[in-house]
Symmetry: C2
Subunit: 352 residues, 2 copies
């Protein structure tokens, strides 16, 4: 009963959202009721480093992943959703948009889902291992050993996030709230993933978080877009579904790996103007085509994989930052509807 | 319905109890009702840096301050509270405690206050200016120009945060949930304040935030304990009250500076065992005595300043991390009562 009416609401919302700008529809005038909220860490290990001011070695903790969550009342009707941000960004990605509208984190909570936002290991509130920088400063390590600090410039963001054909010129049909682009630039912070080992601890921690939650949907974007798949290959036991948004896909998995991934419902989403940026750092059309191939490989392995290429659904102008685009809640509804159909109806352990 | 939510409750309790063997988990089972929540940045400016991969200069944004907020229904009955964390920490300081209890952020919201959590400039979701590190890696700057990356070790934290007389030995009456100290260690992340100019942009941004909110109470702790005073000296117009927790105080202000500060109600709080750690980096008894002097100076300038030295109130065993101590909500109540008496009753613009 509950289920049917909430699905009907989503359907109506999709229809209405297609006709009107989202900002006018979902004003935050209804209070948000939270059953529980908070934050915690997943993973983390001690590392011995030279003590401050010389003397004996001391311990610091590295590779921990900070997670912030909110659960609405009756959240057990849905599988929790874990959202992980992309390069040079933090969990701010999913919160209030640059122009002040509701982000996906709160919208998903308002739609009855528990939402977990993770800062990638080596970023933001998860911290990073600064010992190499201190060793170079102390003269015990060569400057070439310093990590590459990746901070996306305004110019890089404009191109990689597909705001327009050249810096300062937006696509006429662009969905990104371009008048507030300076607020997006403030979200862009140093990315120190170059410090991490080949098996990224964020993957391990995402798998552990899904297990700890007794089942979760893992969602990644851009740099982290394929992290849900990588997490599932480390430990699939908690991964109830994968949502991968705008990233390159791996297309040379072994049959065993594909068989593991094929057991997990997978949704991939791409926005618009994939081939309309010339000479950027990323060729999004290549990424899209690789992911098309990946979807076919999963299907061939009897998996449930779907490619949502927004222009093919008649939704135009979306940037790479589609969770912040003007139609962000319309896109959220597409995802929620997919979850309802492919994940929540197939829950083994929970009661409806 | 009741059955469902109680099953959910016990499920979460089991999961969390596995990670934190603590007692008073989820004491607040009443839903939290939020009128509005979100995040935004204060401040920030463009900086020209060498482009990624060579070529022309490009722009990044630095010195922005990330702020996350929640407002309860009828929040206009109280002045908003801005909380700023200390050294080597983030806003995680104010959230769920290491042993899984409610932090001050949610407690203040449940007590009807709007709460704003700011990550210090150059930390966590506020990001930092990584261009010096890249210049040293590129060979265009000497290694000695690298910032000092300050990460508090486990050993340093034990001593500076006053968990016990020697590393691994806790004070018998200690209020810090010492069995969960590993979870505190995960909160400790690199502090790059050494990159900042003499007038810390966090001070300027705190003053700007207070003004933007049309009046706010500024609260600082440890490294940021005196930031509210520094913010008020930059622009006092929005600073309705100052709450300074466990830090050294400046005691050589000019008469004009003291006159500015004396117009703002000020509360200073110190915990226990100030003189019981030998040979640490910080002499907390010196800090306490300096702040006693500062309180007298404000009073002489006709100001409303109060020193809450917890042992003098009969409250014993508090560590430096008193917002995470086992009696953290008792201490929050002391602050809320002080606010009600010294700030909220004197509001000029708002109605009760």
């Amino acid at each position: 009963m509950m289920k049917r009416s909430s699905r009907m609401f989503s359907m109506i919302a999709v229809i209405i959202a297609a006709a009107f700008p989202a900002s006018a529809l979902f004003a935050q005038d209804k209070p948000l009721v939270i059953a529980s909220q908070g934050s915690f860490f997943v993973g983390g290990e001690a590392k011995n480093v030279p003590a401050r001011g010389g003397g004996a070695q001391e311990d610091i903790t590295i590779n921990q992943m900070y997670v912030q969550y909110q659960s609405p009342v009756n959240a057990n009707q849905h599988v929790p959703v874990v959202m992980v941000h992309g390069c040079c960004l933090s969990s701010k990605t999913w919160e209030t948009t640059p122009d002040g509208r509701m982000g996906w984190n709160e919208y998903f909570v308002r739609k009855g889902r528990s939402v977990y936002l993770a800062d990638q290991v080596s970023r933001a509130r998860s911290g990073f291992d600064g010992s190499k920088i201190n060793a170079v400063k102390a003269g015990t390590l060569a400057p070439s050993e310093l990590p590459n600090v990746l901070t996306a410039s305004h110019q890089t963001a404009w191109s990689v996030f597909r705001f327009g054909p050249t810096y300062g010129t937006a696509f006429p049909d662009g969905q990104f709230p371009i008048q507030a682009v300076d607020e997006l630039y403030k979200q862009m912070i140093p990315d120190l993933n170059s410090l991490l080992p080949a098996t990224n601890p964020t993957w391990t921690n995402m798998a552990a978080l899904a297990k700890k939650l007794n089942g979760a949907i893992l969602m990644g974007h851009s740099e982290s877009g394929f992290f849900p798949e990588q997490a599932a290959l480390i430990d699939p036991s908690g991964v109830r579904a994968i949502i991968s948004i705008e990233m390159p896909c791996v297309t040379n998995f072994s049959a065993a790996q594909l068989s593991t991934l094929a057991k997990i419902p997978t949704l991939i989403m791409f926005g618009d103007h994939l081939g309309d940026i010339k000479g950027g750092f990323v060729n999004w059309m290549d990424s899209y085509e690789g992911c098309q191939k990946f979807v076919q490989q999963i299907k061939k392995a009897d998996g449930d994989a779907e490619m949502m290429y927004l222009p093919q659904l008649g939704i135009h102008g979306n940037s790479h930052m589609l969770m912040q685009d003007k139609n962000n809640l319309q896109l959220a509804d597409l995802i929620l509807t997919w979850i309802d159909k492919h994940v929540d109806t197939k829950k083994p352990a929970r009661t409806r």
